[in-house]
């Protein structure tokens, strides 16, 4: 960064390109365990994606006429969007509620959210039979305004722009573009307010997608409150992801952090645990009301009933109590454990709604092919590579350069 500041300033374009070319080169060790595992998987994944476009979706997936949405939608989109929910929750806490304590993890969370959305959109494109026609959603006179998916798509797209705006000051600081940084920070509040609004709507919209599948989703999982359930779940799913991801990046990138930041980070984790416990309790209360309202008692006494109870007790009540306990006893270990259980629970619930209890009455079950798993991993790995590339270069975890400090809105 010191060097960059010397050679580069706003009005010397020539140096900008040199600077970017220089930054494109890899930094850090090349043969890390993560690289050794992820690189071959990415290569295989790209080959599978090539085959998918050459021979059709059926060549690499187990999708059928009965199960048109599989792992790529069920995990990458329906689950992944919940995991990216941390961005809007933290932005709300820091920029609207003025909880400055969480400022140090805001940028990395927003960056994570943005990349997650970017790559889940890529996954969505892979799953579209006629991906080029996606322009019909954006331009032209083909707006299906009564479609939930249309509204989700637009809120999704606009939110990506809002996230990009929220993160853009870090890019400006990286490029040492002071004027740009000033302009970007003035439109920050608009991006923040609309980002949160758009999030609430598309997070709930993902649940609303399944409202018309009333006959296909097991009654224990289907309810007219699906949109509300999904938006509440996105709060604890997002924060649990922030806890897990923050814990990992604090280990991997610890050299970027100042000495007091570990203590500070623990205090942030304890605060987040409290919020998670509260959000899980709200979710649990909502689920109880939905259950009683739906008069679902007779369904409990079956295999699906046990599966439902496992989800409710093991992955909602248990992490809720764990978060409460770890918050009271300030136990970082249990906070991380509870975060992992919460994330597994969100995966379980979203996979249930989108795949497992979807057409639960069918004899033939959908099981994803190994190719579907590899492509999903490929997307996640490429996302982590890009995330690492950005964290290595831009002021995401470390403090912004001195000139940029203290002139936020």
């Amino acid at each position: 960064m010191e060097k960059a500041q010397n050679v580069f300033s706003d009005n010397k374009d020539n140096n900008l390109w040199k600077f970017i070319l220089n930054e494109l080169k890899p930094k850090g060790k090349i043969f890390t365990p993560f690289n050794i595992i992820s690189f071959p998987i990415i290569i295989v994944g790209l080959v599978i994606i090539f085959i998918r476009f050459r021979d059709g979706i059926g060549a690499v997936t187990n999708l059928t006429q009965e199960i048109p949405w599989g792992l790529w939608i069920g995990f990458d989109v329906v689950t992944g969007v919940a995991f990216a929910g941390g961005a809007y929750v933290l932005v709300f806490m820091v920029n609207i509620l003025n909880m400055k304590k969480y400022q140090p993890i805001l940028r990395v969370t927003v960056l994570n959210g943005f990349l997650a959305y970017l790559f889940y959109s890529a996954a969505l494109l892979l799953d579209l039979g006629r991906p080029l026609k996606i322009v019909n959603v954006i331009i032209g006179n083909n707006y299906g305004v009564s479609s939930v998916l249309f509204l989700v798509g637009w809120h999704f797209l606009l939110y990506m722009l809002a996230l990009l705006l929220e993160f853009s000051p870090a890019v400006a600081e990286w490029l040492n573009a002071r004027k740009l940084r000033k302009v970007l920070s003035t439109i920050g509040l608009g991006a923040v307010i609309f980002g949160i609004t758009l999030s609430v709507l598309h997070q709930s919209g993902i649940g609303a997608l399944y409202l018309m599948a009333i006959d296909k989703i097991h009654p224990l999982w289907y309810s007219e409150y699906l949109p509300l359930q999904f938006v509440v779940a996105s709060v604890f799913a997002g924060i649990a992801m922030v806890i897990l991801e923050g814990s990992i990046s604090h280990k991997v990138f610890s050299y970027q952090l100042e000495s007091d930041s570990h203590h500070q980070h623990n205090s942030i984790l304890i605060g987040l645990a409290k919020i998670c416990a509260g959000a899980l309790f709200a979710y649990f209360a909502l689920m109880v009301i939905v259950f009683v309202h739906g008069k679902d008692w007779q369904h409990l006494n079956s295999g699906w009933g046990s599966w439902y109870l496992l989800e409710m007790i093991g992955f909602v009540i248990l992490p809720m109590l764990l978060f409460y306990f770890s918050y009271r006893h300030k136990s970082i270990f249990f906070i991380r454990l509870a975060a992992i259980i919460t994330l597994l629970g969100v995966i379980l619930n979203r996979m249930n709604v989108s795949i497992i209890v979807y057409r639960w009455y069918d004899v033939d079950r959908y099981v994803p092919t190994w190719q579907e798993f590899v492509v999903t991993l490929t997307i996640i790995f490429i996302e982590i590579w890009v995330l690492r590339w950005i964290i290595m270069r831009m002021p995401v975890l470390r403090k912004p350069p001195l000139w940029a400090q203290g002139n936020d809105h």
């Binding site: 409202l211 018309m212 809105h409």
Partner: protein
């Protein structure tokens, strides 16, 4: 202060967009309701059908698909991306009976409401058609359809959604659907939906021994253009009798109509909270 003003204008902009979307929504719902009485459809009489499978061949020919390969004792078959209609035989309380299945052409179709590019479209004449140039292949119509009708060409690089279109092209030329035109037993009857319901009632009234007192499709999924009458309950014929009586798009109405208010009110609420919680004095900002 300039931030607040700017944000306020943005909120107004979003309000305008949201309101215009809301208007369009109600308009499209009304037009479907108004056109309802003039919709055309087909009445299928299980009593008259002999199960010759002729309609399957006629359908394949009309849509340029390969002829079906029907085994002597066919097992239960489903429609798929190369068979837009199939006739199955069911063991019922009144012996073995045939049942033709194809798209029901709902009055308020779930697939039409699900489609984000208007590729699935309920025409004013009655058929629900799929329009190739608009479809992006997301398959949300397949998730939404309560009758499992839209099928997808999984092994194509430019896949189509395949389903019965009630021979929309033939209808435009003043002809009847291929299966109706060729049916040797007149088990299929094409006409205005309201006339077909009257005809069905007449048949049930005249021969109460031969029919159960129920027209499948009159109220199922909020009403369909394709109607069935039969001597046995429709569950015995393998038809989906758990389908709800209300229209399926109605299930998402609450969510969709809540979007505009949230888009408008939430930003203003957030702005209020922001103002209430900020610590810096306002005069120190920006200028």
């Amino acid at each position: 202060m300039s931030i607040n003003r700017r944000t306020f204008f943005k909120a107004m902009g979003a309000t305008a967009v949201a309101l215009s979307v809301g208007k369009e929504l109600t308009a499209s719902a009304e037009s479907v309701a108004e056109g309802q009485s003039e919709l055309y459809g087909v009445l299928y009489d299980v009593n008259r059908c002999v199960g010759c499978h002729g309609c399957e061949y006629d359908c394949a020919e009309a849509h340029g698909l390969e002829y079906p390969d029907i085994p002597k004792k066919p097992p239960m078959r489903k429609t798929d991306d190369t068979h837009l209609t199939v006739v199955n035989f069911h063991e019922t309380s009144k012996g073995e009976l045939p049942t033709k299945i194809q798209c029901m052409h709902c009055t308020q179709p779930a697939c039409d409401a699900a489609c984000l590019t208007q590729a699935m479209h309920k025409t004013e004449e009655g058929p629900v058609i799929w329009r190739e140039e608009k479809c992006m292949g997301c398959r949300y119509c397949m998730i939404s359809c309560p009758f499992d009708i839209p099928k997808f060409e999984y092994h194509s690089t430019n896949p189509r959604i395949m389903k019965c279109d009630m021979c929309h092209d033939r209808l435009k030329e003043g002809e009847t659907p291929a299966c109706v035109y060729n049916c040797p037993e007149e088990a299929l009857m094409y006409g205005k939906r309201s006339d077909l319901i009257r005809e069905a009632r007449q048949r049930i009234h005249d021969n109460p021994e031969d029919y159960i007192d129920h027209i499948y499709g009159e109220h199922e999924a909020g009403g369909t253009s394709w109607l069935y009458i039969s001597p046995v309950p429709f569950a015995e014929l393998g038809l989906n009798t758990k389908v709800q009586k209300q229209s399926y798009p109605g299930l998402t109405k609450g969510f969709i109509s809540s979007i505009a208010p949230v888009d408008i009110l939430l930003p203003l609420g957030l702005l209020g909270i922001y103002e209430a919680t900020r610590t810096k004095p306002i005069t120190e900002e920006d200028e």
